[in-house]
Amino acid sequence: MFNRIMVPVDLAHVDKLERAMRCASDLAQHYDATLVYVGVAAATPGSVAHTPQEFAQKMADFAAEQGQARGVAAEGLALTSHDPTTDLDPTLLNAIEDTGADLVVMTSHVPNLTDYIWPSNGGTVAKRASVSVMVVR
């Protein structure tokens, strides 16, 4: 049913992603799909990496590590954005097409007041993506 499952990840907050990642790997095992971990960062040095090159390497390492630990095929994709704070949603939506994903599994927070002003990334991706999106809270 699903061949490529895209999992957006923030390497600075991996601890908060466990539920979504476990859910994604269970689905990948069930459908024999490949997981594509996607990370978005600015080209400026940040808390995860100092250069886009280092970031790409970290994403690749993360995917390999996760794939092995969870026993599924996994790839890493590092994307750079000029202003990740505001460009995260369009960047992820583009990534769905670029990676050929047919399902997105992503973490989101419990909606609160600010979601009326700044909708959550999970909410926006679910609203705009043409593929199935599973938002894990």
């Binding site: 040095p45 940040g46 250069t51 590092a78 994307l79 704070t85 600010t114």
Partner: protein
Amino acid sequence: MTDTSASQGIPEPEGSSQIIETDYEIGQDNFETQIGPFGLDIHNPVFVVSGACIIAFVFYTLALPEQAGAAFSWMFSAVTQGFDWFFLSAANIFVLFCLLLIVLPVGSVRLGGAEATPDYTYVGWFAMLFAAGMGIGLMFYGVSEPMSHFASSIGGTAAEGGARTDWAPLGAAAGDEQAAVRLAFAATIFHWGLHPWAIYAVVALALALFSYNKGLPLTIRSAFYPILGDRVWGWPGHIIDILAVFATLFGLATSLGFGATQANAGLNELFGVPVSSTTEVVLTSAITAVALISVMRGLDGGVKVLSEINMGLAALLLLFVLFAGPTLAILTGFVDYLAAYLTYLPALSNPIGREDTNFMQGWTSFYWAWWISWSPFVGMFIARVSRGRTVREFLICVLLIPSLVCVLWMSVFGGVAIQQVVQDGYTAAQEAPLELKLFKMLDALPLASITSFIGIILVIVFFVTSSDSGSLVIDTITAGGKVDAPVPQRVFWCIFEGAVAIVLLLSAGGLQSLQSMVISTGLPFTIVLLVMCVAIWKGLQAERRIL
């Protein structure tokens, strides 16, 4: 060349660049929390201390206006008059340093590593750096400054007790109309040409180099790493960053306040909108609201789009004035004024033994302190959008091209205004107050109501582009160099800046005294900039060795 799309897959290897090995991890001093529904990711203590200092200064200015006014204006005079030689010498060093880097082999070092590709097209990049760097000043001084220098030059020199009392540049040009025009433009271009852009270029280059090639966070303190080492992550670094936030926020808030008064005067002239503090508060709030939308849309969706709109409108107005005015005379003037600038440049930039004290201290030294106090903001913003350019390309585009654009702008706007006085005897622009000179000059040209309206829109949009890029810069500094801090933080700084402007607008003399204080910060930053030159040199040498 095209914009690299936001989604470009795994970036190509960026090529060799020498990352500085430090134990400091970006964001390690940050404090991540949730206040109500708002997420925060702020640097501790830079965010809190700079915010508290800004509030304390505003209260001080409001509670004791006379004392604060006197203290700040004393500081301002002491700085611009006592250290005029220092500002002039330092600015000359920055120009020479930048020109040297263009011609030396280190100019081939690429920001972001040997194979990095530019983040923005030339048009988008240039529009953003120009809108943040000068923008609004050109609208007000494009007409008024050449006129002031022309009037003082043609008036000749005057002395009392052996000291010059006139404001003319150099030896003036008493009674000689042609020479006075040339001297006026040479002096104006001197203040808007190579020197200010070299000041911005030094800061921007230092930050871009230490961030993109050395892997240090995008904050002012990073440029000090070669000198202070790991101490930049402690209090010496905190103080540098706090000072930068301070100068940026007050610089923006005071400009925003003055801008609102000027826009109000323009609206009054055009549409009869009453000049009152209510109108000014409404204007400030409106400018802040548009800036808010812009920062929420981000660098590409907000700031870049507005900068490009601005650039298009400014070009339109420039072309209109060029063709509606005496086109041939203006174009001949452009070449002539450029030649005059180069002829008078050595004398105008001479820091010692000058007789034209009023001009040197009241104009040049003031401008240099002003540009330098703005340099952390403009420099950091330019750095943010300049990844992927070589040092040579960067300096040509940040130093030489903007200087030429300024020469063209001044030649067109100032040229038409002076022609109106000299040849047509039309003196309305000459006699008008600063904020109306542009509109009075446009009045004498065809389609005045349309061009004046474009002029007002430009003034307002220039303020918006300063406000939004400033909010992004302050947000990055107060988030310890992280550019992906939560949106509410940049929203906070944008609103805070508008609120400070409104509070100062409503207080008598508050804007004036705080602006004096901001300009005084130019003095410590001049030392910071000189240190940056050394740091850039060291950093570029290390990059060259590994190429």
